[in-house]
């Protein structure tokens, strides 16, 4: 261990260079903050979803679900009477919008007498949970509901008050019959967004009523422990159930839903790591600088008998300090950042996947520990090479600064070779026969590392090439600026690499987003061929399974000016390939044009599809995710039991990353008892504009049924708006990476300034004006920015390629067309230039104002 005096010397060095340490700490802090912020936002969304799943599932171990969207209530009666299974409870559940609350609530319809063992807070056996509940009024009253007491207080509601909820756009009223007083924090959270009603009220509100008790969402069960007992109970239950109904584990659905967002969360986490990677360059830069600047000092210490190990420990010790302070700040900052990010993440999940209501950021110690480990790990990893260099330097040559640079120059070819090697590794990872997103990201990070290692050699080449140009344009100052880039390569190289990585990430993500948007835009163009689209309001934009009130489709088809109407029905069904979104369409003559097939013969498949044969077509993401392709047989759970459907084609579709299976309405009606519709597409008669028809449709909507009526243009715009909203978080991450890189450049330039004090003071003493010094520094900074920008272009395009054709494909299964507009590329070079010039402004000013006498004395 280094002696007390060595630590003291080290500490004084750090405190004498507060900006150097400050920027380093900031770099670590920002990197950690972004990672922790994203992680907390993701886990908060997960936690919120799990909570809502738990509050619905309660203590149920299993549940009975139907083939499609519901289960006849008669199944429950049979279960209790014929199978004699008492540990069961019927459930009707759906999300509804509560007027004035500004967020969706879960409407839970239950049978209070059966609830006891399942959800104690609902009543029955749950004494103490429901305060002020007049069970008689609740059971016997018309349209009554229970609400959590804290929620009611926040909304200013009391027992007896009336709530208005909207379901699929139709308003319904409920009377608050009582309040649920949660016993603890867990119960408080579980009941925060819950509306409890009896079964018949829920059915009525949700439009699930009907003959013989209507429909249930599911039946909850508590099956006995033990594999054999469970198996026997399942068999007994299955016999009493209608065809198509299934008994499955309660957590099966939670798992499925969580799987939906897995790729989404993973991509966000990987992008957040980018900020940390850029931060890593910054730490490396600082530590290298602190070592290079102290070479003579370290040499003196070594001459006095300080061992290599002690020097190594000393430098690494400083990194530990920087890392610890930076990480601590990063964790605090990350918690703050999560507050903003959680909103973006929640909105994206709600737009794309399912309803999740995140009220607060759940600060998980595990996430914080992970962030701390990453921050410290990254700092130590970045500090390791300079610490090693400091320890291994030969004492006899270490006292000379120029030797340090010539050593750095000597490393350039070696680094370039290493970069080539890492690039080959990146290529090998990309070519590896794997579907793993992690492998994709490993390749991406290898590509970044390879570029960073190659950067010094490229900087030398670019500086050499630019020198005559700079000389011609700016005279001797220009020549000096270009030469300085090469002479101080150990600093300029790292700063340029950091900026290059950040800007390349901007280019890569930008090109990916742009390509994605272009692809989606062109897909919307050909897939939205009807004039007007009508659907009930839905809480999830892309996965609407909401239904129109019966008769609405016919009413709308009869509106004057409608030349043709096709209905759409979306349901979730079980299949041999896992839970599946099934879309039933009534195809019109132009339907064929709205589908672009990736594989399959359009001429062969469409006649059979229209003819109501057992044929389905599947979307590209579905095919990619499940491995189901043309010619395969997909077994779907139907109301007639399990049935096999021939897969006739795979089509391009960008509506859902889970993918869909599409069948004709005629086929759907043969296999499912469900007669509802989720939406209608209308064609206007010749001469009538889409907007005019949309206006007519709005006025023709049945009373009480709120409809979302959009012209094809409106729908296209709305879809793209959602698209842009989903990518808002990506843009935030891009920006943060650039901010970290900016700090990196600033830190590198400040380091250079400190190091060149003497040199510039000599120039000043020799007659260089302060303006010329400032100009010299600015020129060099601009050159650094330009170099970084130019190097970022090929790297950014490579990143875009990996993101589009590897990461996106493996995450979501979409085929995108790469679109790189010159605008984005020019923007990138401009961004690098501006970032570098801004970062260089202060050092330039400071260098110009330096007192030459003081600098020469201290330098």
């Amino acid at each position: 261990m280094p002696s007390r005096l060595l630590w003291k010397s080290s500490r004084r060095y750090l405190t004498r260079h507060p900006w150097l340490m400050g920027l380093s700490v900031l770099g670590v802090a920002l990197g950690v903050a972004v990672v922790v912020g994203i992680d907390l936002a993701n886990t908060s969304a997960d936690r919120a979803f799990q909570l809502s799943a738990q509050r619905l599932t309660g203590k149920a171990t299993h549940q009975v679900v139907g083939a499609g969207e519901g289960l006849p209530a008669s199944a429950y009666r049979r279960l209790r009477t014929e199978a004699g299974y008492r540990a069961s409870a019927p459930v009707v559940a759906e999300y509804v919008q509560v007027l004035g609350a500004g967020r969706p609530f879960q409407l839970l319809g239950v049978d209070p007498f059966a609830e006891g063992p399942f959800r104690p807070y609902v009543g029955g056996g749950g004494a103490g949970d429901s305060a002020g509940v007049d069970l008689g009024a609740f059971m016997g009253g018309e349209h009554t509901a229970l609400l959590a007491a804290p929620t009611a207080r926040a909304m200013g509601e009391a027992p007896g008050d009336t709530l208005t909820v909207t379901v699929d756009g139709a308003p319904r009223t409920l009377r608050v019959a009582g309040l649920i007083e949660p016993r603890d924090e867990r119960a408080r959270r579980a009941t925060r967004n819950l509306l409890v009603t009896d079964i018949s009220t829920a059915q009525e509100v949700l439009g699930m009523g009907g003959p013989q008790g209507g429909q249930l969402t599911r039946i909850d069960l508590i099956l006995p422990d033990g594999e054999q007992e469970e198996k026997r109970a399942k068999q007994r239950l299955q016999q009493a159930l209608p065809p198509g109904a299934q008994v499955r584990r309660s957590d099966a659905r939670t798992e499925t839903v969580e799987q939906m967002t897995r790729a989404f969360s993973l991509n966000l986490s990987a992008l957040s790591l980018l900020a940390l990677v850029v931060g890593l360059f910054l730490i490396y830069n600082t530590m290298t600088f602190s070592v290079v600047q102290r070479r003579p000092l370290l040499g003196r210490l070594r001459a006095l008998g300080v061992t290599r190990r002690e020097v190594f420990t000393l430098v690494l010790g400083e990194a530990v300090l920087v890392g610890a302070v930076g990480t601590a700040c990063g964790l605090a900052l990350g918690m703050g950042l999560a507050q903003g990010l959680v909103r973006l993440v929640t909105r994206a999940i709600n737009d794309l996947y399912f309803v999740v209501n995140v009220q607060e950021v759940a600060v998980s110690p595990w996430v914080l520990a992970k962030g701390a480990a990453l921050g410290m790990g990254a700092t130590l990893a970045a500090a390791f090479p300079p610490a090693r260099e400091a320890a291994r330097a030969k004492v006899s040559v270490v006292l000379q600064r120029s030797r340090a640079e010539s050593a750095a120059q000597k490393w350039v070819p070696r680094l370039a070779w290493a970069g080539g090697g890492v690039a080959v590794l990146a290529g090998a990872l990309l070519l590896a026969p794997s579907q793993s997103i992690w492998v994709g990201y490993a390749a991406l990070f290898c590509a970044l590392l390879a570029a960073a290692l190659l950067a010094p050699a490229l900087v030398v080449a670019i500086a050499r090439a630019l020198r005559p140009v700079m000389e011609k344009l700016f005279g001797v100052l220009g020549k000096m600026a270009a030469r300085g880039l090469r002479q101080s390569l150990s600093r300029t190289g790292v700063a340029i690499a950091a900026l290059m990585v950040a800007v390349a990430a901007t280019v890569g993500v930008g090109v990916m987003t742009k390509s994605f948007r272009q692809t989606v835009e062109s897909w919307l163009q050909y897939s939205l061929q009807s004039d007007v689209y009508v659907q009930p309001p839905s809480l999830v934009f892309r996965r609407s399974t909401a239904t129109l009130a019966p008769g609405t489709a016919d009413t709308l088809a009869g509106v004057k000016g409608v030349a043709g109407a096709h209905t759409v029905r979306r349901v979730e069904v079980a299949s041999s390939a896992g839970p599946t979104q099934l879309v039933a369409i009534a195809p019109g003559p132009e339907t064929r044009d709205t589908y672009r097939l990736k594989s399959g013969n359009a001429g062969a498949v469409w006649p059979r599809f229209r003819g109501g044969k057992k044929v389905v077509i599947v979307s590209e993401p579905y095919s990619y995710r499940t491995g189901v392709g043309v010619g395969d047989t997909l077994r779907l759970q139907t109301d007639r039991g399990r049935a096999g459907f021939h897969v006739g084609a795979v089509f391009f579709d960008y509506a859902s990353d889970r993918g869909v299976v599409t069948m004709s309405r005629a086929t759907y009606d043969r296999f499912y008892d469900d007669r509802r519709t989720s939406g209608v597409a209308l064609h206007a008669v010749e001469g009538l504009s889409a907007d005019s028809l949309a206006k007519r449709v709005r006025t023709a909507a049945p009373p009480g049924q709120k409809l979302v009526v959009q012209s094809s243009r409106g729908l296209r715009e709305a879809s793209l708006k959602i698209f842009d909203r989903t990518f808002a978080i990506t843009n935030v991450l891009r920006l943060l990476a650039v901010v970290v890189a900016f700090i990196g450049v600033l830190s590198a330039l400040m380091a250079l300034q400190l190091e060149r004090r003497r040199e510039l003071a000599v120039m000043r003493a020799g007659g260089m004006t302060p303006g010329q010094v400032g100009g010299y520094v600015t020129l060099q900074t601009g050159l650094m920015g330009l170099t970084a920008g130019l190097l970022a272009l090929p790297l950014g395009m490579a990143l875009a390629y990996v993101l589009i054709f590897v990461i996106n494909k493996r995450s979501f299964g979409w085929t995108l067309q790469l679109e790189a507009s010159p605008g984005i590329l020019l923007q990138a070079v401009f961004l690098a230039l501006v970032a570098a010039l801004l970062a260089g402004a202060y050092p330039a000013w400071k260098m110009a104002r330096e007192n030459p006498a003081e600098a020469m004395r201290e330098g």
Partner: protein, 261 residues
């Protein structure tokens, strides 16, 4: 003039006593691009304990290189260096460093004080590195600072001291841990004549007082009157000037006899 090299490894010392420093057959060359520049070849030297030897030579003659090899900072291409019976060339890097911290003191041309430590802390550093960090060590460091006339500057950082003051602190630091050998590389090179004289006076006085062997590489002739022996390094050869310096036998011989009794 007596030629010390080439000597096929024989030392330039004729002293009958066992020397503290013994260098045999030392060779060193540096690569400069494709060519190799030989600094010296088959060099021999020995210096008795307690002696003060001056190594003269032009810039680039290899004086600093020789000091680096003697201290174990650098390794020779061939030959051996032994200090007090320990053959440094046979030691590992770590062992050489640990040997250096206990037995060798350094004074550099550019002072080379640690800028982040005060004058007192600079003097304390070798003591602490040798394992002592108590009150006794601090007392010794203060006493040494007093002896070089800087007791009142103990808490000053190097950038607040003049060149002469810095070199006096460096002198105190070099002797603080009672090394057996002090190597000084152009200790007056950055100082004016008068200050250089003062520093040299302090250095030799302290070294003689503690009977420390002193080898000073310089081209400053003012060092010669203080020296026991004067060696010239030129063209890769080491030779001893006769009739210059006090000859080490006088002082060191007395001490050797004292040790025998």
């Amino acid at each position: 003039m007596k030629t010390a090299s080439p000597t096929n490894g024989r030392a330039a010392d004729e002293s009958p006593r066992a020397p503290l420093l013994r260098v045999r057959g030392l060779s060193k060359a540096y690569r400069e691009g494709d060519t190799e520049r030989t600094i010296f070849e088959d060099l021999g030297l020995s210096v008795a304990e307690g002696a003060f030897a001056v190594l003269m030579g032009r810039s680039g003659a290899g004086k600093s290189t020789l000091l680096n090899l003697i201290s174990g900072i650098d390794r020779p291409d061939a030959g051996t260096v032994a200090v007090g019976g320990t053959e440094l060339t046979a030691l590992s890097e770590k062992e050489r460093t640990q040997f250096r911290r206990r037995h060798i003191g350094f004074v550099f041309q550019a002072f080379n004080l640690i800028p982040t430590l005060t004058a007192l802390e600079n003097v304390l550093l070798p003591l602490e590195l040798s394992g002592g960090a108590g009150e006794r060590e601090e007392k010794r460091a203060r006493r040494l600072l007093g002896e070089v006339g800087l007791e009142d500057r103990a808490e000053s950082f190097p950038d607040r001291l003049s060149g002469g003051e810095q070199q006096r602190v460096a002198t105190a630091r070099a002797l603080a841990h009672r090394p057996r050998l002090v190597l000084a590389d152009e200790p007056t090179g950055n100082l004016d004549y008068e200050t250089g004289e003062q520093v040299l006076g302090v250095l030799t006085a302290l070294a003689r007082e503690s009977e420390t062997t002193l080898l000073v590489a310089t081209h400053d002739r003012s060092a010669l009157p203080h020296a026991d022996r004067v060696l010239d390094l030129e063209g890769g050869r080491l030779s001893e000037r006769e009739g210059v310096g006090k000859q080490e036998n006088g002082r060191a011989g007395k001490r050797a006899k004292k040790a025998e009794t």
